[in-house]
Symmetry: C2
Subunit: 238 residues, 2 copies
């Protein structure tokens, strides 16, 4: 357990993969949307391709090739390509509805209980590339008890740009060392540490499905390594 | 009760005066700080003067005479003047502690129960000139169940500048007509309506204390006029 002197004041959470099971949720929603139209495809491959489109689309914004756009818009650009590539047909209304599936992702089973424990001792919030409306809808849908919802959208920069981590600490009125980023992705944690934040690595072995390959080894540079949010709460004394 | 067709999707709340009793809270905290140092003065006048300094200080930012600064900083500038004017003595640590009293303001007695009801049907959030850390601390301190915490700080403009109202609707991904501002101040409501938001007026007869004079008449331009947040919940069908 951390001593008080080393403990952060606020915990900010990466969301996709760390808090919610985007893959299982998107497979489920896409399959349901397809079934309603009598269309079928490899919905697992479809979900993976949707997520795989995210990093390159975001990097175009990060490099300045695209002006700032919300993640909802990037998701929709990728969806439109995928519908072509997978030979599917959806109306405009159905596409909008399917794109909003990212607002309804389900959390991993330990999340709500873990966050409720952590909230007693720490200020808890998101720090996600998801846009504000997406994160607020998700929190309402799944009763995620955030104290604050911080998004890349507030800074018009995507993680891992430093403006996002530093901007969040500034909004909290805290020096970066009093803020801890919690994430299942070591590159996100490394970028946060470069800005002076503390970090905690949480293993999410199923993020890419049962067959997905992930680096689940401890992150030696992180202050805490945890198996889930209950384990995180215990290790953070909450 | 509003029909569904006219009902908003999100309710954004002005905070100082509308959600919290800033005057009662500041009098209490300032008196306590004074007692610890064996100092006394007219703490009611002190609280009123602190609040009275807020509008002119903010207007200097709005006119561009001061660069953007958080409300915490404006409060501190005013506090430093008042300590002189009232002939008080506080150490730097005590001044910082007293300035943070604005992060610990108490809500009116109907607020938590009213917000919990409203949250079942509507997305609820702040839309305040208070900075993010102030609003997040207050919510944690008083268990205010916000779905989102929006602040003038996110837009680096103070209400009643239109960027604040329009920026909040944009973050929610909603057209302004789907957002309702709830406030005890008719000028705030009028500015929101000029941006296309719906408005609700809530009477807070004690905002300026038992002797305070306030316009408590119905706001004919607002869609709802309410006596408190329970009444508001009832009138909004929540």
């Amino acid at each position: 357990m951390l001593t008080d002197a080393r403990a952060p004041i606020a915990l900010l959470f990466d969301v996709f993969g760390t808090v919610v099971d985007w893959r299982g949720s998107i497979i489920r929603e896409a399959r349901r949307a397809g079934r309603r139209k009598g269309q079928s495809t490899d919905w697992e491959a479809f979900a993976d391709a949707w997520r795989a489109g995210y990093r390159p689309a975001m990097d175009r914004v990060r490099r300045g090739e695209l002006p700032w756009v919300k993640l909802d818009h990037l998701h929709r650009m990728i969806l439109d390509e995928l519908i072509e590539r997978f030979g599917l047909r959806f109306s405009e209304r159905e596409k909008r509805e399917l794109n909003a599936a990212w607002h309804r992702l389900s959390p991993w089973p330990d999340v709500v209980r873990g966050l409720e424990r952590l909230k007693r001792r720490y200020c808890i919030g998101t720090l996600s590339n998801g846009n504000v409306a997406l994160l607020v809808d998700m929190a309402r849908h799944e009763r995620l008890p955030w104290d604050c919802v911080f998004s890349a959208e507030l800074f018009r920069r995507y993680k891992p740009d430093s403006e996002v981590y530093l901007g969040a600490a500034e909004l909290l009125g805290l020096p970066p060392r009093d803020v801890m980023l919690v994430a299942a992705h070591k590159d996100d944690l490394a970028a946060a540490r470069r800005c002076g934040l503390k970090t905690a690595f949480v293993r999410r072995p199923l993020e890419h499905g049962p067959a997905g390959r992930l680096d689940l080894s401890d992150d030696p540079r992180s202050m805490v390594n945890a198996d889930d949010f209950i384990d995180l709460a215990r290790k953070l004394g909450a």
